[in-house]
Symmetry: D3
Subunit: 338 residues, 6 copies
């Protein structure tokens, strides 16, 4: 339980002062406009679209910023109204966007049509040729990686373009050089690439990271064979030798394997308002707790709590506070607080 | 199971080329403006109304058109903005509205106030003296009945006015003359007439149709006595000698009796967004599957699937595709497709 | 100028105490739901409708109630959600609706599509067979006419149905019997009847009223010939021998003829938000000022001021206060009051 | 069961004519603007607010007025647009607001952020220094207490200010003097005062009332010790000697103790749309039934039914009719009534 | 004045029967989603977007369809919800979309931010790599060009991609081969290409067309030198030898030169609601009048009237009727029609 | 013309590097929620409120931040959702809010009801007892005044409370001590205090400032007598010996007096969307130009341009860019940029 605290690779609250960091976490990736018709209206019959933001890395940056962490989000944005809208919105929630590279012709967007069981929620990506997909290693000031406690990446960015893949590889190398720990959420997207395309990249990146987060289904697909769910973490650890592997299992919660022991934490029951972004919210809670020196098991619980709260609000962003997370973990109330 | 395919009365895919049809299905009836306050607001306290379309026959025409069938909808519409709104909307989903008779003073409307259990959803009709209620046999080109694979009618139209009843009788006679099969959905509405008023008309019409669809409750009321639910189809068949009788049972699914055998198909579990139009959506799936040469049992399942999807979207119309229906029937996913 | 105060037929503030009145004004007529798409959207392409109230007499009752007069509105309303919505809304602004007769199948409605020059604003009535059109003299407690200082009628009600005409005739007779003065706003509507149909009714009613208000255009059409605008009032007075005739001239203001002298008052310049109801608002200001003992000329000015303010707000109702009217008349400010 | 009818302190339908009452119920308290973002949007990220009314006593007055009772609501409101908005809205639903004292600088408001389990709904009060909090005994015409069948108070008003407490004390005394029965809903609010602050006031007031309504949790907190839920009513009766004590238990229904016997009635299952105001709706049903001469047990059931219906509609107000309540109690339908 | 009617190149009503045409007009080009924040909100600060359609050729097809012409619109659309939304909407207004080629990854979109003087309205295109930009000559059934009375093209399509330019060239050639007259609206867009890039293409295409429409400013830029406005038509005619040249001059109206004479027609004064699409609306009126056998001068007036009406409604589409156009031309009313 | 550049008191671009400033401008004051019904709806009849921010100093900070200046806004905000909403929104536009003091019970709010001539726009303040009104000198880090190029204050803050006045006095003293120039916009508000109350405070503060901005009307009221408009600047300069006095004259533009010469710049004609905040936007342009080393006369023009653009967008904030301002000043276009 105390493993994570003694691990030299896992930064936490106590080590922060020594390093005199500028940031708690830097992340890079694409944030898009998420356009969705109100309620359960079909996109084909829509007359209006709500504008929200979406993008795994930006979601993580916002969630952590609201929990008091100093986070920076790097990306490329077009220098037009939609591009500035994204930067403004992330900044409004406290994320440092000064590292954004401005330029490129368009903002990536995606359309969400909210279903209701048995009709699934549909995502239509319109992100090809976005400014973010044109990011290159030259866009960012890599020296800042020595001034952050943590670097967070996802498996989405490498799928966007060759230059994006190159940028992620460069980020991993640069972080390694200065000893900054890296978390990677695989975030496998079937609409971006096949698992066969993704596997070698995932293997290459994951084996250099401190912490890898994978959905159980994706973990099984990576390992192949008949891996039982509770052995996915172990299997991925064996595959990559990543110090810590987190496996998320949706309504069944999340588990962790730190090379020695397995931990598990159940999900909180939720009346879902908007499920999108729940995985990123889990990352927010997990990373925040680890940075605060909590045990791996407590961090799983913290992640589950942030994810649960996220699902009760519209939009990808986890607009929650420490108080709310802790109240849910200690004395849940479903009624009215007045 | 294969009865329906060999029945000379039931058109299906294979017969289409022989007859060189212009339409797969013609239907006639009233489509109204459905005006409802947003969410669960009481109509008495409303400030805004959403405009949707409603009307059993138009709903069927739209649903089938989206599933690739060539459908025509006949009615009478006022030559004003609300009337054109209706024609435009049906046409937008691919329905042929060239047979509409223009004229009459007003568009029928109805107000819907959405409840939440235990408060029922309320419908207030304001359809008296509508243009549609003034339709007469002289309004339509009956020669087209020889160029359609199917005629669809409901038990609502005969209740609207004497001239509507006359028109429905004329339609039945004309279809008979050219051997076009007729489906009839009883759609008994307590706010339009009593069962005692409806019974002789239902009996007269149903006994001339190829396929009759009835809610179990209405079927029982027609037959009287202590008919057990699973005998309603048989009872109606005995009463009318209709080749095929379909009995819908809400959350308990649907059943069919083809004179020899009974079939049953369970409903799909649904998180309901808007229930209105679910029965029409069932008809859409049922008729589409029969036209495509599927068995009666498969057609029940197809009907249930279309009805389930309809209930997940606002408005009376079943805006679904074959892909969506088949995905639901083969590998349901409730999550996010991205 | 002081004529109106000394005229025995024109009630004003000073006479109120003597008569121990229950109401300052009773009016009867139809109030409908006014349904309009937002902004300048064409009705044919609309997806939403705003619900407002409209109806000349109810508009007058609301406007006067807000200016402190005790007003009652009589009509017939259906005992359903739309009917109660109308009563609730009128009551919310202080109108006594206890005299409403409940019953009838439907609430009259009308659709408004807001134009922008050179496209005119279009009104589509859907009021046939409304509950209000079924009102009869038996619906109301005529003894109350002896307890009101004023009865207000319009030329719309007689056009709605035979029983409505009968009710208006009855009202005029009953008011006459108890000596209650009557105002009549002709409110000629081309979509309800032709001038040839309206003329004999207007003549019959106007000749029994204390005060008649007519649009200049309608007055000219009534008189015929080449009446110059500023002689319309005189012409109508000669025709009907009505003690006071008011002629409204839109952007050119209003004039009055009291049998001896003519008065005129210019309209206030307005940046129009919603013109509908401006005529009723003029009546509100005119009648309020007369009841308060103001001169006929001042009453014209008061009417113009209320009409101007009404046009700056959405909806038919003149939601203004004495303070606002007087500020406009004394020291207009177009800026921001903060 | 018939106790309540024979009790001289509990007014009911039969006694009404004897007393020639002007009102069935007078209540006094604060009604605020309730401002909430649409859906489940977080207040911190909101762009729009829906305006509804909230305030326990006004809610009770509206609910009863809609059930046919003549109710008056007394309070202090600022003489500005928000203040008049409140009076208009209460009046629109039939409440007599002629006793409102006008003046004071601001309307109390509160913000509601709707949660979804496990995120609780949050209320942020902004009611300090409101006009209502400045009410004094001099604001109201206490002689009217002899012309009402019932006075209704809540435990919220005494918590608002010293002058509010004084006004409530005065109301209790004045009602006592003329023998008008008093109901008191404790409505303990943790954001207004602590239970230690509230207890002596609750004790003082409750011991002078005819009927006291308390949430089980608050009742237990008042009594202290390990009172089992079904003994809370008895315990409160022993504490205050109030003739009738009602204990509400949320999803578990409500119970009553009349000094001799205990009654209990289960809650109706509800798919909740908006829970706020459910307690006031219970009071509405309870008091209405008692006034109509129903038994205490039936009154509990009536209260539960009104509360259930209230939770199916947005806003604090129970916009229900006798028909709807009785249909729910006799033959519940969750489907569509058409 | 009668020149146009006797010209063999200009189709009109009388020739229609001879040719037994399937269409009055075929057009090809891109229709996009036009996404704009409500009112005058800046796009950078928006939370919602209204979905409308935009695209010069589709706009022309819709306008003409509503005026009774049989129009077909050809393009390439992605086979997803946004793509079907476009087809549905054009079809709803009566345009034949059966010639659409389905496929391609994305729907072209553009953002509109409505200004208010002195802030200009801004258009941000996001149309690169759209399905429409991938259209090729192989996508369409060119044999239909012999069954249409008219082909309409614009100078936008050639700027979208090489294959689009090729398609337009092919269309011009095919129409020529079967003698179908061609209209071309230059529609020069500075955000798509420079005038130097556009000039040779415009010259190539215009010289093969029957009718060319150009904005005065663009015409001058094409010709160069100090051409006075009223000589632009003549100059373009000399340049291309196009039988008829139309020059639009915004608020100053439009002019025509038919090789012999010049005609001019003033614009109608308009209180603008939405200016976008006014040029296309002018084309609608012009082409409709010419097809109906009106003189060139009358056609200019008809075009100006349709353009004026279009500017009074939100969205690019001219949702007008012949009645409305003729009422504006004969007896304009700015008031309320009721 | 070049006076301002040579003045030692007026900071501009060139001096920035020497001083190694952290901020270009610090301002302190109250920012409130501005709640307004949509369109021209009367507040008394509203159902929804749009949330915008308002407050002179925050408006200035946002406008300047968007023009590239590093601005900080100091205030006191309640630590609840409305308070964080304000901080988030200001931060989204690039304002540094790290100096905000958190605490206090409520966020100041104000209601705006938009008029239309001749009905004025009404502001109802609800700002008493706000967190901001409780600010004290102890809330802020005054040492930062030596690290900013400019301090901006308004005459609103001193009117809010005694502690606010004390804070403003302290700010003036602290800025004086470190030689930081101070601008003061009098912003006289009749709803906060009388001119007699304000005069001594204005005199005290203005005489210590580098630059004072006053509306002509307020300047005249301060000076008294029959000051002709073009002498107000001179008069105020004589009164206070302020180096530079700016006088704003609404639609007539603005003037400046620098102790030697007078400058004037006309306003830009605007089709007004929302006038509120125009004065603050003028300050933004004026101060930005001065900081960029522009002449006083050019700065007036820049201020007028920013004010004109602000009035074309909803909300108090001037969301404009340098490009837009310069395009307006050099080559205004009112059409569509596409």
């Amino acid at each position: 339980m105390a493993l994570i605290m003694s691990s030299p690779n896992v930064p936490n609250g106590s080590s922060s002062s020594e390093k005199n960091d500028a940031y708690d976490l830097i992340t890079l990736g694409e944030t898009m406009w998420r356009l969705s018709p109100p309620g359960n209206t079909r996109l084909e019959a829509a007359h209006q679209l709500d504008i929200k933001l979406g993008g795994a890395e930006g979601n993580v940056a916002v969630g952590l910023a609201r929990l008091g962490k100093r986070t920076a989000w790097w990306s490329r944005l077009p220098d037009n109204a939609p591009g500035h809208h994204v930067a403004n919105t992330l900044r409004s929630f406290g994320v440092d966007v000064s590292g954004v590279a401005w330029g490129g012709s368009r903002l990536g967007t995606y359309f969400v049509e909210f279903g209701s069981p048995p009709r699934p929620t549909q995502v239509i990506y319109d992100r090809a040729n976005s400014a973010a997909s044109e990011m290159t290693p030259a866009d960012f000031d890599w020296s800042l990686l020595s001034k952050t406690r943590w670097l967070h990446l996802t498996g989405i960015t490498p799928a966007l373009s060759a230059s994006c893949l190159e940028t992620v590889r460069h980020a991993v190398k640069m972080a390694h050089d200065v000893g900054t720990p890296i978390s990677l959420d695989l975030n496998y997207r079937t609409k971006l690439w096949t698992m066969d395309e993704a596997r070698p990249i995932f293997d290459e990146l994951a084996s250099q990271c401190t912490l890898v987060i994978a959905a159980a289904r994706d973990g099984k697909a990576l390992i192949g064979g008949d891996t039982p769910p509770n052995w996915v973490g172990r299997g991925l650890h064996r595959r990559w030798h990543t110090p810590t592997v987190i496996v998320t299992m949706g309504e069944r919660g999340a588990s962790a394997f730190d090379g020695h022991d397995s931990y598990e934490a159940p999900a909180y029951p939720v009346t879902i308002v908007d499920k999108i972004g729940a995985g990123d919210a889990f990352d927010v809670g997990l990373l925040c707790a680890l940075m605060d020196g909590k045990s791996l098991e407590d961090a799983l619980r913290y992640g589950n709590a942030v994810a649960a709260l996220k699902m009760t609000m519209p939009g990808d962003l986890a607009l929650v506070t420490h108080d709310e997370v802790e109240r849910l973990m200690s004395q849940p109330t479903e009624g009215i607080v007045r």
